[in-house]
Symmetry: C4
Subunit: 254 residues, 4 copies
């Protein structure tokens, strides 16, 4: 049994595509952005990736059929830029699997002559976000100025705990293959799925890629989420009127 | 030391047998059904499967002897249908072991030219089940209509968390070997061993296989269990009379 | 780096020795017995066993020097019976390591033509033991009558949870190499190191081996332990006079 | 993917260097000492060590760039003694990784003909340290007298729990390659980063190496830390005036 199996669904040729990673993580920010792009751009699935390092389970689809937990690569072609979008159900369930899967993703990137990777994620701050912010990290200092131009912020020693999982490893390991890589992190509470933070990240990414993506679906999800948050705050205010500072925080309800 | 060791106890030839998996899981529903069938049909043990991915322990038998934790394959022949029944003490204790063992089970299935697999399990809903229901999932949409005919229900996105362990992986991985596979899940509270749910699953399975299996033993276990549940409810009612909704739920008493 | 490294300290020839395993476990009963035997019989160390499956640490000796965590084999020769004693600092820290180490121990047993293995352990019952009892489990039903003769008790389905770790695996895996193996378990609370339970096991073992071992040192440790237990009971009586049943149990103070 | 990858940054020849290990551990005492030495002595980085056994993450530097979690080797040459300093972000995240990394570190030591290794760490005692003490452990009893001469103390059976991680394994495994090794442990509460304990260890180490290292930076960090400790004690006194013994302990605030 191989540690990683890459199944090619469709052969395709791309022109120095940009790779975009949006696997599950804090606030599902990266996942929301990448899956939204796949849907709006009608990107095409070209690869499925299986591994015994993923959780040992299958997912049940709407029609009652199942499929193995997997990661997937989608492709999209346009006049200005080609894209490879990396999404999936889970990240690795083992420590070493994270490293192995990242190597496999970079092998795919090299096969398609990828020159730049964007990894997308959320940056949990433990309280409701008032001003949407996109924090950046890069694997080459020369990228910072360009990213600043798209409104990406860089703060000393943030995130303090580093960047965990594939979003981080892709930056660190792409460096050794001479591929530029940027991590875009939307500020988020960290307690809930956060489509509003995803919108902020998507805006930056569209600017960086020079493409347009309809945001209506994300906006609607963000509005629904705001209603849920408002309800939670109301419940907390009723239950704990003595704790005046409580409206600010959400508590850990995930 | 090999990851998996399959010891053949008896050589036997079968005619396109159906494979039935009933390893331990939620409410031990699958295990109850498969072990009941082995006993009632007097199926014959043909294989023992050992693995260092199982918990490192032995079980003590009634006569004071021990045996290694193992999985077992039993065979049963009849005019209409031959069966391979997969049962065992435990599932894998490691993440990767689940994938490896599933591959080994499918190697056995292919060796016997299995065309269809039924995996059996429980679907925990966190409260007492009022109407016995058997939920299904398949690895080929064409199977749904047939299963509906046996009373199996399919609900969108259920189980929401997917199907964990060998019962799920067998479906996902059999698909890639062109073997049809169905998972039958009996609704169960998830807190107790549930012979009543096992009865519901067995009824569906007998219909699907076109065989008859005496259910008396399962019925008796179900009655005993009902007495236990009634006692627990009584205790809870006495202890917490202030909580009027409590008779509905069982709490986590496993 | 090898999974297991066996370093021979001294070459020795033995006459069909009996192997005795006393690695750390419940109440340290097996460890107390085996180490007491090594000391009283002045057995000689002949092997050291190292493995990256052991916890990653060294122990500090009385003189300030360190040594790697290890398992050890001691040998003892007499007119009637030769012994191989297996002791150590820890059991495996990984699931698969237990299986691998047991295979290595059996390779050693076979090299010395061992025909019988005794594994020693404690059987935790969660309360103070009133009558010292030695419970048995065997890997061959023919051994039960002989063991009964030494006062070993066999109870249906006990221990219910099976026998975990090397003491259990040795029985299960020795069977497949045609080596007789018996597990002797001293009843113990499971909360404290239990030299009194060790005495009971040692008495049975001496009878089975037809040898004599001075027990004074174990008796003294048992007396000290009894004083500690008495103090704990006293403290509990003072602290929780409202809980009348408390003198019976010790609570989890390990 | 290899278990360990050693990347040589600079080729250098050294004269029987002494190796000094200061990876993260209790109170970060070893890390503080080794990193302080690297800075003050202006040692030069010669190797980077990567491993999938490290946590799967990258660290974000001050300038917004990232780097993979790694261990590093620095070199320093002087007339009297040459040094190899081993530092890093993390120790292994897996059990076996500790053993594998220690082997890799010893391969490096042998390549440079290292005759002696000092591993540095903290010895947590669970309360504020009143008299700075450096506890020792060695892999050769002949080293004790020399170490006593530098003020290192050796106490029977301390540390009782052994020495966990690379600081311990290096001693145990160097012994088998005939390399002398000493572990110097600064007494520390175990709750906070402890530059004062680091100073005590550094003093001993300078004496042992016959070198001088400016301590001003460590002294300043120690003073800052003392202010923090004083504040914590104050807060505890105010919050729990009823607990008279509380000023002595810090509680677990890490």
């Amino acid at each position: 049994m191989k540690d990683i199996e890459v199944v090619t669904i469709k052969d395709i040729s791309l022109k120095n595509p940009v790779m975009i990673e949006g696997l599950p993580g804090v606030g599902h920010v990266g996942k929301l952005v990448a899956e939204h792009m796949i849907e709006e751009l009608e990107a095409e699935k070209i690869m499925e990736i299986y591994s015994p390092h993923f959780p040992p389970q299958v997912l049940v689809m709407n029609d009652g059929t199942v499929r193995l937990v997997q990661n997937e690569v989608y492709a999209w072609k346009s006049e200005n830029v080609d894209l490879l979008l990396l999404v999936g159900d889970y990240q690795s369930a083992t420590n070493m699997g994270h490293y192995m899967l990242t190597e496999a993703f970079l092998d795919i990137a090299q096969k398609f002559d990828v020159k730049r990777i964007y990894t997308l994620g959320g940056y949990g701050i433990g309280q409701l976000v008032e001003v949407q912010t996109v924090l950046g990290a890069v694997n080459d200092a020369n990228l910072i100025e360009e990213m600043n131009g798209y409104g990406v912020e860089f703060k000393e020693n943030e995130p303090g705990g580093g960047i965990v999982g594939v979003s981080g490893l892709l930056l660190g390991m792409a460096k050794r293959r001479d591929i530029e890589a940027v991590c875009l992190m939307g500020l988020t509470s960290g307690y809930l799925v956060d489509p509003k933070s995803a919108q902020a990240v998507l805006k930056v990414l569209c600017q960086a890629l020079g493409i347009k993506v309809d945001m209506l679906a994300l906006e609607e999800r963000a509005k629904e989420m705001e209603k849920i948050v408002a309800k939670i705050q109301e419940m907390e205010t009723v239950k704990m009127p003595q704790d005046a500072g409580m409206e600010e925080g959400l508590g850990y309800i995930r």
